[in-house]
């Protein structure tokens, strides 16, 4: 029982970063722009968070530094999101390629800067002022549930609130309706007076900023530093969570939790007796194989935005 509680707790720890990144991807893709740059936005966020928090720490800002680092991430990611938006929305470049360029440039430029700032070091110094787990009053004292759900990093709470906000904006406000219209049928949206490409441009910027919080989360909780393998593929897993979660905020959160559970499982698998017979790598492989299997059984009802990946040219309406 206790092992189960820790497993669930670990699930939230790993899932938080994925929730942020998946939400960022979802915002962009709902308006019809493919976002393969999630990995890059996470890298930019993690870099910015670690470096800013480090200098805030040096400046003696104490407990504030983690939050300052966290909030710096979207600003840094904005630069890369701007590239993606200019290339793929303004100049109608292949959106997949544009996303990959973001990944390449974010990775190379941040490592370059880390080496530059920290005299050739391959990673930032270890941070001391990072986020700690908060015990939610009263609830955290509950048996089982307390450990499982109510001893969390503050970032997890932010992520869950963001899920609700984005769900609300996406499905209950005129702005959300417009975004979805642009992603489904840009031509009709244009006829209805919606500035298609301007909305897409904005969505790419906001999406990149939200995704960067995922990177910041990793740098400021699990890692306490930034190095070349801090993100290592999490952005792509977040993208899978977007698709797996059927482009819906709640679905994406569910998918992120599923991947989080798989990650927590591989960390804590030695706690379980049955697992000792099986090579650990089987558990590593599990989330990817399960995703494929689930997709095989659900794929016939595709729910991707109809105009995903198609640049919009008003002249060709």
């Amino acid at each position: 029982m206790e092992a189960m509680a820790f497993l669930l707790n670990g699930t939230f720890v790993f899932a938080t970063a994925l929730i942020f990144a998946a939400l960022g991807g979802l915002i962009t893709e709902r308006t019809g722009v493919v976002n393969l740059g999630l990995e890059g936005f996470m890298v930019a966020g993690a870099f910015s968070a670690a470096v800013t928090a480090y200098f805030a720490e040096q400046a003696g800002l104490g407990g504030m530094s983690a939050w300052i680092g966290f909030l710096s991430a979207p600003l840094c990611a904005l630069l890369f999101a701007l590239m993606h938006a200019i290339a793929s929305v303004r100049f109608k470049a292949d959106q997949v390629i544009s996303g990959i360029v973001v990944n390449m440039l974010a990775a190379s430029s941040t490592f370059f800067l880390v080496k530059l700032i920290f005299d050739g070091a391959a990673e930032t110094p270890m941070l001391t002022e990072v986020f700690g787990k908060t015990n939610i009053p009263f609830l955290s004292d509950l048996p089982f549930f307390g450990v499982a759900f109510f001893q969390v990093y503050p970032t997890t709470i932010v992520a869950l609130i963001l899920v609700v906000i984005i769900y609300f904006v996406m499905f209950k406000t005129p702005l959300g309706l417009r975004m979805r219209a642009v992603g489904e049928h840009p031509g009709s949206a244009d006829t209805a007076g919606i500035r298609v490409n301007r909305l897409r441009f904005l969505a790419v910027l906001v999406g990149g900023m939200v995704a960067s919080l995922g990177g910041a989360t990793i740098a400021l909780t699990a890692n306490s530093s930034f190095s070349f393998n801090t993100i290592s593929g999490q952005g792509f897993i977040a993208l899978a969570a977007v698709i797996f979660g059927r482009w819906h905020p709640i679905g994406a959160m569910g998918a992120a939790l599923f991947f989080g559970l798989a990650q927590a499982l591989k960390d804590k698998v030695q706690l379980f007796e049955f697992a000792k017979q099986v090579p650990t790598e089987v558990f590593y492989m599990l989330p990817y194989v399960l995703t494929l299997i689930v997709l095989i059984f659900t794929s016939k009802r595709t729910s991707a935005p109809a105009a995903l990946g198609q640049p919009y040219d008003p002249g060709k309406r």
């Binding site: 370059f112 593929g233 790598e281 095989i296």
Partner: protein
């Protein structure tokens, strides 16, 4: 990618090639990339001239360096072609990473366990990895054609699955204790060119170079001169029209991904049979598949383009090691340069804007009006 798929239609000879706008876009992208790289180095307090000089010196410094640079270029040619053939068929293969891993699994298993005479053993191991890579690629296409699953997500999932599969295979069948890698292949399975290696002071040259050259020429003939190649281009430019014309989109897609996967698989076999002679338990996939996307894009999915782009990127990547040595510049600058090149090549509209404005300004000055740049 449609705009790239149709290049080369009116090119008769080199002169015509030089008149193509897309070629100019590529060349300009490269120049801008190198200039921005220099600016970044200046901003970081480095000497860009010294850096680029050390890059070139590293490349042509010795026979050893030329051989090792080839070792970087050859996989890029292969992954570039792998991505290109999928692009030409209207598909995006972001799964070359996984296909490379599967190729190396096939090569290490056959190379280590099977007993065959030299040469034959190498060929069989190479084929095993190639076919395994091809099947892994075809799985993506099958999931797309039969279940309608987006190839991007399948590829990403299969990349990680392949990586962990390789760990399982090594750990359960052939782990070299404590070394974090598999046992070695038998000598008979090696595809190294030992004499050439000795002549090049130990540079790890292997048959992969010859295979890559054959692949470039083979790709050109396949895509431009054969029925299957024609069908792929047809499906790539308009799936529905191709279907209406009686081409099986499903079969064509499966075929394209099988070939694409085979090219990727071969890269895995090269590394195992020609370079390392073992398979390491790597924490992540190589990244060569992603580099292949860059190569295919800059090379506009043509045989010659992929070859040139692979040589350029490979040379830059290998030379970057010299840069950090000679001018103390972190090698990441070169990856920045490469991504900037891709950025401008991928969004040709940006440079087209510049190219259009530029001659107009010249006209105002000279009133001559001839512009040789944007045809």
């Amino acid at each position: 990618m449609a705009n790239h798929a149709q290049t080369g239609k009116s090119s008769s000879g080199w002169l015509a090639l030089l008149k193509q706008e897309s070629v100019w876009i590529s060349v300009l992208s490269i120049i801008i990339g190198l200039i921005i790289g220099a600016v970044v180095m200046l901003a970081g307090g480095y000497d860009p001239l010294l850096a680029y000089e050390s890059l070139l010196l590293k490349l042509f410094g010795s026979k050893y360096d030329v051989g090792e640079a080839l070792g970087v270029i050859v996989p890029l040619i292969m992954t570039g072609l792998a991505v290109a053939i999928a692009f030409r068929s209207g598909m995006f293969n972001i799964g070359v990473e996984g296909q490379i891993v599967m190729g190396s699994i096939g090569a290490i298993v056959v190379g280590h366990f099977v007993n065959l005479p030299p040469v034959l053993h190498g060929i069989v191991s190479l084929l095993a990895g190639t076919v395994l890579g091809g099947l892994w690629g075809m799985l993506v296409a099958w999931l797309k054609t039969s279940r309608g699953i987006n190839e991007v997500i399948t590829c990403i999932m299969l990349n990680w699955t392949a990586l962990y599969l390789s760990h399982i295979v090594i750990r359960t069948l052939m782990e070299e204790p404590g070394a974090g890698r598999s046992k070695m292949i038998q000598d008979s399975a090696s595809i190294s060119l030992d004499r050439l290696t000795a002549w090049m002071d130990g540079a790890r040259v292997h048959w992969g170079f010859a295979i890559a050259m054959i692949a470039v020429i083979g790709y050109y003939f396949f895509i431009n001169k054969t029925k299957w190649g024609y069908e792929m281009r047809a499906v790539g430019s308009n799936k529905h029209a191709a279907h209406y014309a009686g081409i099986s989109v499903k079969k064509t897609t499966l075929r394209a991904f099988f070939i694409s996967g085979m090219l990727g698989g071969m890269v895995g076999t090269f590394e195992v049979l020609g370079v390392f002679k073992y398979l390491a338990i790597a924490p992540a996939t190589s990244g060569l598949g992603f580099d292949g996307i860059a190569v295919a894009l800059l090379g506009m999915n043509t045989a010659l383009g992929v070859l040139l782009a692979a040589i350029l990127f490979g040379a830059l990547m290998y030379g970057a090691q010299g840069m950090s040595f000679g001018a103390d510049v972190p090698g990441e600058v070169i990856r920045m340069v490469i991504s900037i090149i891709i950025f401008f090549a991928a969004a040709p509209g940006i440079l087209r804007l510049v190219l259009k404005r530029w001659p107009r300004k010249r006209q105002e000055v000279s009133a001559d009006g001839s512009n040789g740049v944007s045809a």
